[in-house]
Symmetry: none
Subunit: 105 residues, 2 copies
DNA sequence: CGACGCGTTCACACGCGTTTCACCAGGCAA
DNA sequence: TTGCCTGGTGAAACGCGTGTGAACGCGTCG
């Protein structure tokens, strides 16, 4: 687990210590879970993470088969990211596997 | 240097842990089945594999006589490989037998 | 005590991947 | 060449995985 330092990937800047996220310099209002999930994705940029990996990292414990929490939070994150940058999808779905965060250029 | 599980044959690099395939450094977007089939072929480079062998390895169980799944997926893999490297055929047909993957130079 | 925010779960529609089908192309034998 | 068999591949059918609005429960704060 990396320290609570500022993480910058592309246009995204995460300051866990201050519980703030900047996208293109625009502050995002995220809940604790949303921030944790986005951090986990951003720290593994351009890597496909399974739901199990994400759940374990953010929620802890094993993902139950019916649990859709990861999907729901990915959806909410996408909405908040798209509110600032509508034209670029940051979180990509890998069907049958999981998700991948791509900070892009 | 990639992790130990990475399979590299010629211009192809397969990272099963990340569900990622690179051809000449270009990431290929493959489905789960496509990736499994390509892995099986690449792990047996320059060796002719029968449809039965491929089906057993990727799908599991026995190949029914009418099942064309292997052919269809070989076709799709060829298309995606050719999208990156049009001039070189990687998957060769051995008439009446099966297929052979040749990573080349 | 009521309102609010957050996390979780549910429900349903939709998109994507897989399988199957159909038809065409190409190789092999005679 | 003729005929048969094998392989190539576009497209439809089907089932399952995913997207997402909404409801619910719970804790917190005014």
């Amino acid at each position: 687990m990396p320290p609570a330092e500022t993480v910058t990937t592309g246009r995204l800047e995460i300051r866990p210590g201050e519980h703030t996220v900047l996208l293109d310099g625009v502050p995002l209002v995220l809940t604790v879970r949303e921030l944790a999930l986005l951090s986990e994705l951003a720290q593994n940029s351009d890597r496909v993470l399974t739901r199990e990996e994400l759940y374990r990292a953010v929620w802890g414990g094993d993902l139950r088969t019916t649990d859709r929490s990861v999907d729901v939070y990915v959806s909410r994150l996408r909405a908040k990211l798209a509110a600032v940058v509508p034209e670029k999808p940051f979180i990509h779905t890998h069907f049958g596997i999981g998700y991948r965060f791509s900070p892009g250029a």
